[in-house]
Symmetry: C2
Subunit: 219 residues, 2 copies
């Protein structure tokens, strides 16, 4: 891999990092994904990218800090992508919800390793690091909840339980979890291409939102 | 705790185990839950129930075997409970689906520690142990898929994507994941009592299934 070759994932981590840091990041994600962060050593990570063990500390103060930076930046990039996808979808709540779900399914299904490590391992971070990640996760869920509330107020959605913030939050959480869970399917081989999966999940999300006039109603 | 006191969870693990094994099991689940299995030592577990470190090996060959037995038995008891809840609900698919969701939400929300350890840590087991747990998970998902297919064929459900096994399986997976995810809410305090949560999730599941004539339609 030359200094200019982008990582196979198409995602350059950490944000603003050097090419060497990006190589370390990709090797670490592969290992965190397959063995878990607790069972991965600094030596494993440096060996996987042909470095001496001490070389990691020129870039990250510890394995824990590396894990944190990766999880934070994966979340940060996902949130930026989610915001852009929603903004590009125009004003209609159903179109915005569909765009948000398509983006999240593409993330979870197309960047499985990154998504799984980010979703699974953020809970094992120390409190202050975890809080920073939790803030980004809340922001992402708020984007969904905002679309659901807007749609509810416009009469485009009939949320399951009422036209209130709690219901919007619970429904947003449900839709977000459905999408994120796709990254956990690694051992089960579903015969569905990513673009078909996106449309199936859009349909499920519209049903959860109680979208009227969108073809999502069963009756 | 006397030999006859049931564990606080109300669930006696492992299946068929002695009172002392049950004490070890409860202590282990508390530790696996709060620290993760990888960061928990045999010494931590035995210290938590006032035993010498070596005492664990009279009952389990290793920490890994203990983790496996607990995860397998939590799944086994959940599957038996799920089957009983469905059987007690009578023949109507919508009633059977509702009963299944109520049971799963009660498990995930009422037995959070057990559910979280079982759902989170089964992927870290060695292949042969994991396969045994995966079989039980498949069986549970099949119970949901069976209800969905029955309801689809009876015209009670209009599944999101078609009246076929793949759609039933994907929808069953979505409903199961929604329920299981509740065990991961430990750090977020939703102001919803368990029985209200059950009914909200029943409504979401009926919407996903496309239940007709059940009041779940948005329109």
């Amino acid at each position: 891999m030359t200094a200019e070759t982008p990582p196979a994932s198409g995602l350059r981590l950490p944000i603003g990092g050097t090419s060497l840091q990006s190589r370390i990041a990709e090797a670490a994600i592969d290992l965190f994904y397959s063995r878990g962060a607790a069972a991965t050593t600094v030596r494993d990570i440096t060996a996987a990218c042909g470095l001496t063990p001490g070389a990691l500390y020129n870039h990250f103060s510890s394995k824990e800090e590396l894990l944190f930076v990766l999880i934070r930046d994966i979340h940060q990039l996902a949130d930026e992508g989610l915001a852009a996808a929603i903004a590009a979808a125009g004003p209609r709540p159903a179109a915005r919800l569909a765009a948000a779900v398509r983006f999240m399914v593409a993330q979870a299904g197309g960047l499985r390793k990154h998504s799984l490590v980010a979703n699974r391992d953020f809970t094992s971070l120390p409190a202050d690091m975890r809080d920073e990640v939790t803030d980004i996760r809340r922001r992402m869920r708020s984007r969904f909840a905002g679309i659901l509330l807007d749609g509810s107020e416009a009469g485009d959605f009939v949320l399951p339980g009422g036209q209130d913030r709690l219901t919007a939050s619970l429904t947003a959480n449900a839709i977000g979890m459905l999408c994120a869970n796709i990254s956990e399917w690694t051992r089960v081989d579903y015969p569905v291409a990513l673009d078909e999966l996106q449309e199936r999940y859009v349909l499920m999300a519209l049903r959860l939102a109680g979208a009227t006039g969108s073809g999502a109603e069963p009756g």
